[in-house]
């Protein structure tokens, strides 16, 4: 008996004296419920203070998921009181299936004052439905900034799982927003802020008894972009009904002025949730509006690659400005009958480096590529940033392809042929670049010394530019040629007519598919099989402050379609930068 009593007392001693603290904490955890208060998300501004992303309050009806409730019955009853459109129901069903247990699911948002009053007076009938004012994200420029900014979306069960793994789960509530794509995703931690906590005493059924303590949320910080929204708008509109990409940046520090990927999408559709039909349309559209073409669109660079190959030739002493060759309109490897044709039938006659750039002579570059060999070409392309990510402050970016022997072996398991090198000379073949890579490489020529890292938010520390190690004399030769591209007789001469500043550029036309010797019929070919028009440029020619790359999909010629878009951007830019 004494032994049994000792056993009880021992256990009680263990519980009450030894482990008091542990059990007190557990009792407190039972009693105190911490309700998270979401912080205000930081704004996104352009370089001149225009608001690109902001918050607005919306009255929202949410279903509080509990065991045993049939959500659809509740919605049905609610729809007698408040209008719930088919889109709302569809969105609700989707959100419900993606939600985590016991989280709230949105039924309706943007309630009018009348609807708020109507629901409030009938709220007692819907204990499972909660009315609250929530901050929504709004993007005043819509499609124009869609790929740049990305969007925020309600956290899904999958998001929460990912956050859990990163140890960030506690920073989010079950019905919180999270940045997806673009600036919203990349600067999530800056924009987000910190959850506040509301401590409430509850009983065992979760009834709130009294307020204990409140930790206010800390609002997110604003993010100021280097973008100029007016320039962005002008650039977007310059595309008219065409698709493509444009990126304009400061060639000296990499600050991005304009960032266009067209078509865009309506970001508020993501914020509020799409209905299935719209979502299907977006997902299956031939135009692929969800692809950010600036960073993830990969294109054959076409002739825009020529300046970089020319520099390789000069640096390797394989060419000098005076060296010239006769262009019969095609190039053939010794002992081969295959003809690599020039874009101009009959050829350009005697061609030196300057003329080869100004008139974009293919034959010159076929031969140059052959003389350089793929290994040297690869080395120079890599030096200009092709085949590697630029390191821009966005969540996703393609590397493109800077072909090499290794690459081909790995990709196709086949060794490199001499003939493969020839088409690389005019930016066809295996070459694939992103518009962003093109712009950064162009900025390299413009500033003459380094490969800058593009940035949408101005860096406070030192910029991580890589030295190009190209002689300034050779850069000068190239720059002169690119200036003359923009003069009468150059491939983009027309686009520069009447400009109050000087500019330099290079056109490109990228074949979407090989014509196999057929005549290319510009008028009668399917729109989506037409060539892509490319253009790289910088201005002013003597002391560049802006460099850009434009791709117009299925646009045809770089000189006639892409260069005029660049011209409009430059004009707008120099309105405020003399």
């Amino acid at each position: 008996m004494l032994l049994m009593s000792a056993l009880l007392l021992g256990r009680l001693f263990y519980l009450q004296i030894v482990n008091t603290d542990y059990y007190q904490v557990r009792a407190e955890n039972n009693r105190i419920n911490a309700t998270p208060i979401p912080p205000n998300r930081g704004l996104i501004l352009d370089s001149k203070g225009h608001v690109l992303a902001k918050n607005y309050a919306s009255y929202v009806l949410e279903l509080m998921q509990r065991d045993g409730d049939d959500p659809y019955k509740i919605i049905n009853r609610l729809s007698d009181l408040i209008a719930i459109s088919p889109q709302d129901s569809e969105r609700f069903a989707k959100a419900l299936s993606a939600s985590s247990q016991f989280s709230n699911v949105i039924i309706r948002d943007d309630l009018s004052d009348e609807e708020v009053a109507l629901f409030t007076s009938n709220a007692y009938q819907f204990p499972e439905v909660q009315l609250s004012a929530q901050l929504y994200r709004e993007y005043p420029y819509g499609e124009i900034t869609s790929h740049l900014l990305g969007y925020v979306r309600r956290v899904s069960a999958a998001d929460l799982q990912r956050l859990e793994q990163k140890g960030l789960r506690a920073a989010y509530t079950n019905s919180d927003w999270i940045g997806k794509r673009g600036i919203e995703a990349f600067y999530e931690n800056t924009l987000r802020g910190q959850l506040g906590l509301n401590y409430v005493e509850v009983d065992s059924r979760g009834m709130e008894l009294r307020q204990l303590e409140r930790q206010n949320p800390i609002g997110g910080q604003n993010v100021v972009l280097t973008i100029d929204i007016e320039l962005q708008r002008v650039a977007y509109e310059a595309f008219a009904d065409r698709n493509g990409a444009l990126i304009a940046l400061d060639p000296n520090d990499g600050s991005v002025f304009a960032f266009i990927s067209k078509p865009g999408y309506n970001p508020s559709g993501f914020v509020k949730g799409f209905d299935t039909k719209t979502w299907q349309q977006i997902r299956t559209s031939m135009d692929r509006p969800l692809v950010n073409r600036v960073t993830n669109g990969v294109y054959p660079p076409g002739s825009t690659l020529k300046p970089f190959l020319a520099l390789a030739g000069l640096e390797e002493n394989i060419r000098n400005p005076a060296w010239s060759m006769w262009d019969p309109g095609y190039f053939s490897l010794p002992g081969s009958k295959k003809q690599f044709r020039d874009w101009k039938r009959g050829g350009h006659g005697q061609v030196n480096l300057h003329k080869a750039i100004v008139e974009s002579v293919d034959t010159y570059f076929y031969k140059l590529a052959d003389d350089l060999g793929i290994d040297t070409i690869h080395q120079y392309l890599a030096r200009f940033g092709f085949g590697v990510k630029t390191g821009i402050d966005l969540p996703s970016e393609s590397e493109g392809i800077a072909p090499s022997r290794d690459w081909k072996q790995k990709r196709f398991g086949v060794s490199w042929y001499r003939g493969d090198t020839i088409s690389v000379g005019i930016g066809q073949g295996y070459n694939l670049v992103t518009p962003l890579q093109l712009a950064v490489a162009t900025a390299g020529i413009a500033n003459g010394h380094s490969l800058i890292q593009p940035a949408l938010v101005k860096k406070t520390g030192p910029t991580s530019a890589l030295p190009l190690n190209i002689s300034s004399q050779h850069i000068r030769v190239l720059k002169k040629a690119m200036e003359d591209v923009m003069k009468p007789g150059g491939t983009a001469g027309a686009a520069a007519t009447g400009a109050a500043y000087t500019m330099a550029g290079k056109t490109g036309t990228a074949q979407v598919f090989s014509l196999n010797g057929e005549e290319y019929d510009e008028i009668n070919i399917d729109e989506n099989l037409r060539d892509h028009a490319l253009f790289i440029a910088y201005a002013p020619a003597d002391n560049p402050t802006i460099a850009l790359a434009v791709v117009v999909e299925n646009g045809g010629h770089g000189g006639s379609v892409a260069a005029p878009i660049a011209r409009k951007v430059f004009d707008e830019y120099f309105k405020s930068h003399k």
């Binding site: 049994m4 009880l8 007392l9 256990r11 519980l15 009450q16 482990n19 008091t20 059990y23 009792a27």
Partner: protein, 365 residues
């Protein structure tokens, strides 16, 4: 004789003063904790006070029954309890999956409670009558013990079955059952256990499993144990104060006024409160054992020992389950938990002790 001297005589001659004092102390503590655990529900406290008052009257009656009648009552009482148990098994009303109550139209009773008193009396009477211990005596006594226990197990009511078994077992033990037979029975019991496991109802199996690992099912079967250990542990040395226990006041602790009242005591009065109630129980048991030693006959001695020990087992099992040492079997804390039948059974037993006390052998040798 005036009224006051008569009361005095009743208390000193009929009702044992120390026992009465201890019981009233427990009542006071019970009502105090109950008031807190029912969150200031005076009505509930009054109902319990009525239970206690009724039980006290019964105790007084039992204490006054002429001693010679008691042993003669044993057999009829046992038979009555047995018949009622059988009736319960046949036509008892079912609630929460168990068939424990018998509705006699004018009275709802739980015959197993009656058996708690009837069985030790019966066995004590039996051993008193057949003082020469023979194997057949053991066999019959074990039968007398096991039949009601089995009936109660079938209801199913593991907690009461254990207590009834204990009450009978103590009589057998103190009647001089040899250690060898005791070891033999224990061995058999251990061997039978794996088979008995299969006989247990699913919810009983679950409770035992839950005890072994309460956090396996924190919102289900383990919830009681987890919440009661939290309540007691968080009470600390001095407790959170009367009416200030968060576990009990905010309803995290289930059954706070019945089976888990000890957790409320532990939370609000801490280790100090726990020691206090242990002290009161210890004194009560000490007094009971004293009475047994001085009992006028073998019947009285065996009955007194059984009643006292059963009281101890009651407290042990209840506290043990509340602090997570034993499975949850639904045993109330004696003279503390809310409920009439347990109070009545307890005080019937105490009444018997008082009866034995007033008829004790006056000369000790």
């Amino acid at each position: 004789m005036g009224i006051l001297p008569r009361v005095k005589t009743e208390i000193t001659k009929v009702l044992d003063g120390p026992l009465l004092a201890l019981i009233l102390t427990l009542f006071a503590m019970s009502l105090g904790v109950l008031y807190s655990s029912s969150q200031g529900d005076v009505a509930r406290v009054i109902v319990q006070a009525q239970h206690f008052a009724f039980a006290l009257v019964l105790m007084w009656v039992v204490a006054r029954v002429p001693f010679e009648y008691l042993s003669r009552l044993a057999l009829p009482l046992y038979l009555l309890a047995l018949v009622l148990l059988i009736l319960t098994a046949v036509m008892g009303e079912e609630s929460k999956g168990a068939q424990r109550w018998l509705d006699l139209k004018f009275l709802r009773i739980q015959p197993s409670e009656l058996m708690k008193i009837a069985l030790p009396l019966m066995l004590a009477w039996y051993f008193d009558r057949y003082e020469r211990v023979r194997p057949i005596t053991y066999f019959v006594s074990v039968l007398l013990l096991l039949v009601p226990v089995m009936l109660i197990l079938r209801q199913p009511d593991l907690g009461t079955a254990i207590l009834v078994f204990a009450s009978g077992f103590f009589v057998l033990f103190f009647a001089g059952i040899s250690i060898r037979i005791f070891v033999f029975i224990t061995t058999i019991a251990v061997l039978v256990m794996p088979f008995a496991w299969g006989l247990l109802h699913a919810y009983q199996q679950k409770r035992i499993l839950t005890l072994l690992n309460p956090s396996a099912d924190p919102l289900g079967a383990g919830y009681h144990t987890i919440q009661s250990t939290i309540a007691i542990g968080s009470g600390g040395f001095w407790g959170k104060g009367w009416m200030d226990g968060t576990q009990s006041q905010l309803n995290f602790l289930p059954e706070g006024s019945t089976d888990f009242i000890f957790a409320v005591l532990g939370e609000e009065f801490g280790f100090v409160g726990v020691l206090l109630i242990f002290l009161v129980y210890a004194m009560l048991i000490w007094r009971g054992l004293n009475i047994a030693v001085q009992a006028p006959s073998l019947f009285a001695r065996l009955a007194a020992i059984s009643i006292t020990m059963t009281f101890f087992i009651y407290a042990f099992v209840n506290v043990g389950m509340v602090i997570g040492l034993l499975p949850i079997v639904g045993v109330p804390l004696p003279l503390m938990s809310f409920g009439g039948s347990s109070a009545v059974t307890m005080l019937l037993g105490i009444g018997l002790l008082m009866n034995f006390r007033s008829n004790r052998r006056l000369v000790q040798t």
